[in-house]
Each structure stands twice: as structure tokens, then as C-alpha cells.
């Protein structure tokens, strides 16, 4: 296994650009996915079956079909339909957000429902209304429990953003494949990409474990 450092040096600026786009795609999708997921999670918890139904369908679809298929559908179907032309970055963010929203929705729901019923009853008996009880009693506790599964989801999302290379979004793997296409080499592009992903996911998990420790009560 001979590593050609010269082509790595040559492609370093492109890997840097790719990394930035990977981070951009991930952050944008995490934010949109969380907001969307929150609404969908709340929707799914509705006691009215008819309101909950569409949210259930959404989760079933996006959790039950491959992300790759969703990316292809959004890129070649949805985005041209709306924008009149294809746009890789828009398609990637849309597909990643829609997909992670389904998972985030379930995480929110699980977090809120994991809080003991007695907490709500106690808060209500202290004179809080439902909203206040949610805001000051249930959600702070639920949020703490959501951090580990949310962290998992964010890490999965960073790694899954590599699938956007299939629609020629110039993220990390795109440049890896470009290097491979120019020089027909395997180790240089993919080991580099793997290490960069590792750094990204590892730093994210450090941040999250720090947050977890800060919120710990005992």
C-alpha cells in the first residue's frame, strides 16, 4: 500500500471545501429536521386519530424507505417540479431534513411520553395549567432524555450526507470520487474522507456529552 501524498496535497483544498459543504448540509438538515420533527412528533401525539394519521403516514414513509431513494426522488422529481430545474444542494438538504424529521419526531415523542404521568398530575395540582406544566416540568426533563438519541441521529445524519455524492453535490465523497476518477486510486481518497467524517462525528459526540454532563442533576 503506497500512499501518494502528492495527490493528497493537490486535493487538500477540495477536501476542505467538501468538508465545509458536508458540515453545511448537516447543520442545515439538523436544524430543519429538528423543527419539522418537533411538529410531527406533537402531531403524532394528538389524541384525535384523524389529526395523528397524516403524521403517522409521514413517519412510516420516511423511516421505511431508503434515504438513497428519497434523495433520488427529491432531486429528480420534487425539486424540478417546484423550482423548474434540478439543484443538488437544495435536494440534499430537503431529503436529509425530511428523513431526519421522521426520526426526530419519534425521539421527541418518546422523550415526552417517558416522563412519568405523576409529574403532570403534580404540576397540575400545584395550579399550573397544561401549557405551564409542559413548559416548566415535563419538557426540561424530557429534553435531557432526548439528548443521547438525538446525538445518535445527528451522527447518522452527518454520515448519511455522503449519499448526496450520487446527485453530484460537491461534498466530501464527491471530491473523493473525483480524485479516484482522475488517478484511479482507492486508499488516498477514502481513508482521507473516513478520517474527516470521524473527526466530525467525534467532535459532535464530545459536544453532546458535555451538554449532557451540564444538564445532569445528580
Amino acid at each position: 500500500m503506497d500512499i501518494r501524498w502528492d495527490i493528497l496535497a493537490e486535493y487538500a483544498p477540495f477536501f476542505a471545501k467538501g468538508t465545509l459543504l458536508t458540515i453545511g448540509l448537516s447543520i442545515a438538515s439538523i436544524i430543519i429536521g429538528c423543527v419539522l420533527g418537533l411538529f410531527i412528533g406533537i402531531g403524532k401525539m394528538s389524541k384525535n386519530k384523524w389529526i395523528a394519521l397524516p403524521f403517522n403516514c409521514y413517519i412510516t414513509f420516511f423511516r421505511g424507505t431508503p434515504l438513497l431513494v428519497q434523495i433520488l426522488l427529491v432531486h429528480f422529481g420534487l425539486v424540478p417540479l417546484v423550482l423548474g430545474q434540478t439543484n443538488g444542494i437544495t435536494a440534499a438538504i430537503t431529503a436529509l431534513s425530511l428523513n431526519s424529521a421522521a426520526y426526530v419526531a419519534e425521539i421527541f415523542r418518546a422523550g415526552i411520553q417517558s416522563i412519568d404521568k405523576g409529574q403532570m398530575e403534580a404540576a397540575r395540582s400545584l395550579g399550573m395549567n397544561h401549557r405551564q406544566a409542559m413548559r416548566f416540568v415535563i419538557l426540561p426533563q424530557a429534553f435531557k432524555r432526548m439528548i443521547p438519541p438525538l446525538g445518535n441521529e445527528f451522527i447518522v445524519l452527518i454520515k448519511d450526507s455522503s449519499l448526496a455524492a450520487i446527485i453530484a453535490v460537491k461534498e466530501l465523497i464527491y471530491w473523493g470520487q473525483a480524485l479516484q476518477g482522475q488517478y484511479y486510486r482507492v486508499w488516498e481518497p477514502y481513508i482521507t474522507a473516513a478520517l474527516i467524517y470521524l473527526v466530525l462525528t467525534f467532535s459532535l459526540s464530545l459536544v453532546l456529552s458535555r451538554l449532557e454532563r451540564r444538564l445532569a442533576t445528580e
Binding site: 447543520i27 434540478t86 439543484n87 438538504i93 446527485i167 453530484a168 473525483a178 476518477g181
Partner: protein, 271 residues
Amino acid sequence: MKKFKLLAMAAAVFLFFLSACGTSETSGDSGSGGDGGKKTLRIVTDAAYAPFEYQDKGDVVGFDIDFIKAVAKEAGYEAKVEHVGWDPLFVEIKGKTADAAVSAITINDERKQTYDFSVPYFLSTNKIMIPKDSPIKSAEDLKDKVVAVQNGTTGQEAVEALLGAENKNIKKFKDNNLAIMELKGGGADAVVADNTVIEEYVKNNPKENFVVIEDPVFEKEFYGVMFPKASKLKAEFDKAIKALMENGEYAKIYNDWFKVDPDLTEIKAQQ
């Protein structure tokens, strides 16, 4: 709480920036043919087919790229070439999200049903790339061997005609580079692809001990520029291509990339 707000705002700005990037990158390509400056055409390609089109440190370069830019200029347009990948480029042309595609695309009857093509601009045949010590001597010998091809190419069709369409020994890859990598890695016994591409690879990588063999069973093919059905560009590009072949510009680009002069007789006979 303040920190959160700041974070959210930074994220929003970033998002806006990202989406702005996304649109500015592709805006102006479906241009409105304004009366002022030259209209810029969005040309799509699969830049994984050296020396026709490949990426050199992020730039899409190759014979096809120089050719299409010269043709567009001759026809009075600017050309912006974008790498989208092989299967996607057909989707882009079909959906009219790009003006034309240039990607060593062989003109054949199946494709003509869905797309329009310019007059031919390049002559090519499929050939077989094998390791030097391979027992394969002709296309006939491929029958019980594993063959790597690029999905959706005439190379794939040629191999399917030989081995049968459902043969599990045909490995179809997203681009030709991956097919060659598979051969290098030992996962395939041969690659069938357009002669120029594999001949260039063998020439540029003498240490890897590959050879290219030909077989008359593979028919001659012609590359054309691909347009959406009923595109107005076809007539203008046809004229421009013929003009470049007359005035020697085509020969110059050809010589730049292949170091020999083109033999235009067969291409012209097809026009």
C-alpha cells in the same frame, strides 16, 4: 437563553447563505435568450470518462469539453459544463433542466426515441480491456467470464448481446472508472468500453499490465451531442459542428487530446 438565540440566528444566516449559494450556482442557465449578451447554455456531462471528460482538480476538462465550447461559440452561445453523472444526465435532458449533454454519448435508435442528437462528431467502437496474461482472446471468450461495464452504455448492451441480458456475470457500475477499478481489484476478468477510453488508460498506466483487444462483433458507433426532443439548438449546433470540421478547428482540438489527426471520412459519411 441569549446564547441559544445567538446560535439560532447564526444558523439562520448560514442557512440563508447556503440556499443563496445553491440558487446562484444554477441560475441563469435556463436563461431567457436575452437580446443583449450571449446566452449561456447549461451543458451536462459525466466527468468520469477520460480523456473525453474528467475532472482535473475540480475542473471538468477533456476532448468533449473543448469541443462543445468551440461548437457553442461557433453557434453564438456560451457553454457552462457541469458534471452531474451518467444516469442523471439523461434525466436532466429529458426534463429539459439542461440545454444539452456531451459525454461521449453514442447515437442509437433507442436513445433517439426520447432525445435528439446532433450530427455525429466522433467515431468509436467498444473494445475489451484485459490483464496481459488473460486467456481471453476474443469477445467469444467472455461468455463464462465476469465482465465489468458502465451501466446504461453501449458497452453494457454489447456485453448483454453476447452473454445474455440477465447474466449474473455482468457487473454494471455507475461510471467507467469504477468498472476499471473492479478489473484492477480482481473482481472482474474484463472491461468492455469505448476504445479511446480504455486505450488511453492502458497507455497511461503501463505498469499495470493491461491490454486492449478488439473484436469485429462490436459495431462502429458515433457520438453525438444530445438535446431534449425538438430542441431548437440541434439545427444551430449541426451547422456549427460541420463548420468546425471544415475550418480545421475540430482537427486542432482532436490533435490536442489524441496527438494524431482525425480521420473524418467516416464521420462525414454519416452526416
